[in-house]
C-alpha cells in the first residue's frame, strides 16, 4: 500500500504542480469540515467530500481502485467505533448495556467528519509526494533540522522496507513463521537483524556525508514548478462557495 500511494503521488496528473496548490484544496477542505458547526456539518461534509473526490479521481486521475482501498480500511474502523458510540452503559441500577437514547444524534457527526476529512487526507496523500510536502514545510517556518531529519527518515524507510521484505522472504524459504511461537521468533530475528544492519548503514552514510564535506544542511533537488496564483484563486473560490452553500442550506437537527 505504501508503495502504491507513493507511486500515485508521483504519477498523477497533478504530480508536477506546486504542493501549495494541493494543500490549499485539501487542507482548506479539511479546515471547513472541522470548523463547521454541528447544524451545518452535513452540508459542509458532503460538499467538501464531493469536491475532494472529484479533484482526486477526475482531475488528478488517482487510480480508483487504490482510492477505494484506502477508504475501506478506515471505514472498517469507523464502523467498530460507531458501534461503541451507539450503545450506552448505565450503572445507576446495576450494569446495563443498551442502545443509547438518540444514538443517531451521537454517531452522525463523527461519521460525516471522518468520511469528508478522509477524502481530503487521501486526496493529499495520493497527489502530493511526501518529499514535496516536507520541502514546503521547510519553506513556511518548520525548523530545518526537523524537515531535514524527516526527509532522511522518509528516504531510509524505502531501503529499510526492502531489507525487511527480503528478510521475511528468506525466512519463509527456510520454513520460518510457523505457528505463534515460530512467527514471534522469526519476527524477532528480522527486527534484531535489521537494527545492526541499519546501524552499519548509518555509519556508512555518516562517512559518505563527511567525505562530501557535510556542513549540517542537506540539500535535495525539488520540483521546479512555481505555485499558480490563478489555480490557488480558483481553488479558494470553490472552497468558499462550498462553505457558503453549507452555511445557507437548511440546518441539521
Amino acid at each position: 500500500m505504501i508503495r502504491a500511494i507513493d507511486i500515485a503521488a508521483r504519477g498523477n496528473r497533478w504530480a508536477g504542480r506546486h504542493p501549495a496548490e494541493k494543500m490549499v484544496l485539501y487542507l482548506g477542505g479539511l479546515a471547513i469540515v472541522m470548523a463547521a458547526p454541528r447544524a451545518h456539518l452535513p452540508a459542509a461534509g458532503i460538499g467538501v467530500g464531493i469536491v475532494a473526490v472529484i479533484a482526486s479521481l477526475c482531475l488528478a486521475r488517482v487510480p480508483t481502485r487504490l482510492y477505494l482501498g484506502l477508504v475501506a480500511v478506515p471505514t472498517g474502523f469507523l464502523l467498530t467505533s460507531v458501534a461503541t458510540l451507539a450503545v450506552s452503559l448505565d450503572w445507576s441500577d446495576g450494569w446495563r448495556l443498551a442502545l443509547a437514547p438518540d444514538a443517531w444524534a451521537t454517531i452522525w457527526p463523527p461519521c460525516v467528519r471522518v468520511l469528508a476529512t478522509l477524502a481530503c487526507l487521501i486526496g493529499l496523500a495520493t497527489t502530493t509526494p511526501v518529499s514535496d510536502l516536507l520541502a514546503f514545510l521547510g519553506r513556511v517556518g518548520v525548523p530545518a533540522f526537523l524537515t531535514d531529519l524527516a526527509l532522511m527518515i522518509y528516504r531510509q524507510i524505502w531501503v529499510t522496507a526492502e531489507i525487511v521484505e527480503r528478510s521475511i522472504a528468506a525466512q519463509r524459504a527456510r520454513l520460518g513463521f510457523g505457528g505463534y511461537r515460530g512467527t514471534l521468533r522469526s519476527l524477532g530475528i528480522v527486527a534484531a537483524t535489521l537494527f545492526p544492519r541499519l546501524l552499519a548503514r548509518s555509519h556508512r552514510l555518516e562517512l559518505g556525508l563527511a567525505a562530501r564535506n557535510f556542513g549540517g544542511r542537506l540539500a535535495f533537488l525539488e520540483s521546479g514548478a512555481a505555485a499558480s496564483p490563478a489555480r490557488i484563486a480558483v481553488t479558494g473560490l470553490v472552497l468558499a462557495a462550498t462553505a457558503l452553500a453549507a452555511a445557507l442550506l437548511p440546518v441539521a437537527p
Binding site: 472541522m34 461503541t84 452503559l89 476529512t117 487521501i122 531529519l149 537494527f195 546501524l199 552514510l205
Partner: protein
C-alpha cells in the same frame, strides 16, 4: 490503534495538539543539541526513525487468531530514550497518515500524545522501576513493552471517552466501554509485542549493539 482522521471534534484535536507540544519541543531541543554537537548523528536518527516506522508496520500474530501491528514504544524507548522517541514518533505518525492513510492530520496531536508521549514515558518509568527493583533486563524489557503498549491504548480510550461521554454514565462509562473493547483485543497483543521486544533486545545485546557509540549518544545508555 490510531484515532482516525476527523473522528475527534475540533476542540479536542486542538487540545491534544497543544498538550503534545511541550513534549515535542523538549524532544526537538534535545535532537537539535545532539545534531549541533554531533552532526554525524543525523544518519543514526534517520535510520532509527525508519526502523520505528517499519517496526510499526510488521504484522504481529495475536493469540486470539487475528493480527495487529506493534506500537514500537517499548523498544524505541529502551533503545533511544523517551524524549527522542517522542519526536521520531511524531514524524512516523505523520508519515503513517500520509503514506498509509492510518491515523490522520487532525488527530495527529492525540495520536502523538498516546503513542509518542504516554507510551514511551510509561515504558521508561516501568523499565527504570524494574531495574531499580533488581529485575533482569529481560523482565524489565517485557514489562516496559507490555505496559507501554497497553498504556497507549488506555490513553486512547480516555481520549475517546473525553470526546464522546456516555449519555447515561458520562466520561467514566464511556472509558469503561472503550477499555472493554480494547482489553479483549489488546491484552493478548500487548503480551505478544512484549515477547517480541524481549526477543529483539536479547538478540541485540548478544550482538553488542548497546555498545554502539552513536546509539549511546541518543539513548544515554537506557540498556
Amino acid at each position: 490503534m490510531h484515532i482516525m482522521e476527523g473522528f475527534l471534534p475540533v476542540q479536542h484535536s486542538i487540545g491534544w495538539g497543544l498538550a503534545s507540544a511541550p513534549f515535542l519541543v523538549h524532544g526537538a531541543n534535545r535532537i537539535r543539541k545532539i545534531l549541533r554537537e554531533q552532526p554525524e548523528a543525523r544518519p543514526m536518527l534517520a535510520v532509527s526513525g525508519a526502523f520505528l516506522f517499519v517496526l510499526s508496520a510488521l504484522k504481529l500474530p495475536s493469540v486470539t487468531g487475528s493480527c495487529s501491528h506493534p506500537t514500537g514504544a517499548g523498544l524505541g524507548t529502551v533503545l533511544f530514550g523517551p524524549s527522542v522517541v517522542a519526536v521520531l514518533s511524531a514524524i512516523v505518525l505523520l508519515f503513517q497518515s500520509l503514506l498509509l492513510a492510518h491515523g490522520g492530520l487532525t488527530t495527529l496531536g492525540a495520536n502523538i500524545f498516546s503513542m509518542g508521549i504516554a507510551g514511551p514515558l510509561i515504558a521508561y518509568a516501568v523499565f527504570k522501576g524494574a531495574k531499580a527493583l533488581g529485575a533482569g533486563i529481560g523482565i524489565g524489557v517485557f514489562l516496559a513493552a507490555f505496559f507501554a503498549d497497553l498504556g497507549t491504548y488506555v490513553v486512547t480510550s480516555l481520549q475517546l471517552a473525553l470526546a464522546f461521554p456516555d449519555p447515561a454514565s458520562g466520561i467514566a462509562g464511556a472509558a469503561t466501554k472503550f477499555l472493554g473493547v480494547f482489553a479483549i483485543t489488546q491484552v493478548p497483543l500487548a503480551i505478544t509485542e512484549a515477547l517480541l521486544t524481549v526477543v529483539v533486545v536479547n538478540l541485540l545485546l548478544q550482538r553488542g549493539v548497546n555498545k554502539d557509540a552513536s546509539l549511546q549518544t541518543l539513548s544515554r545508555s537506557a540498556l
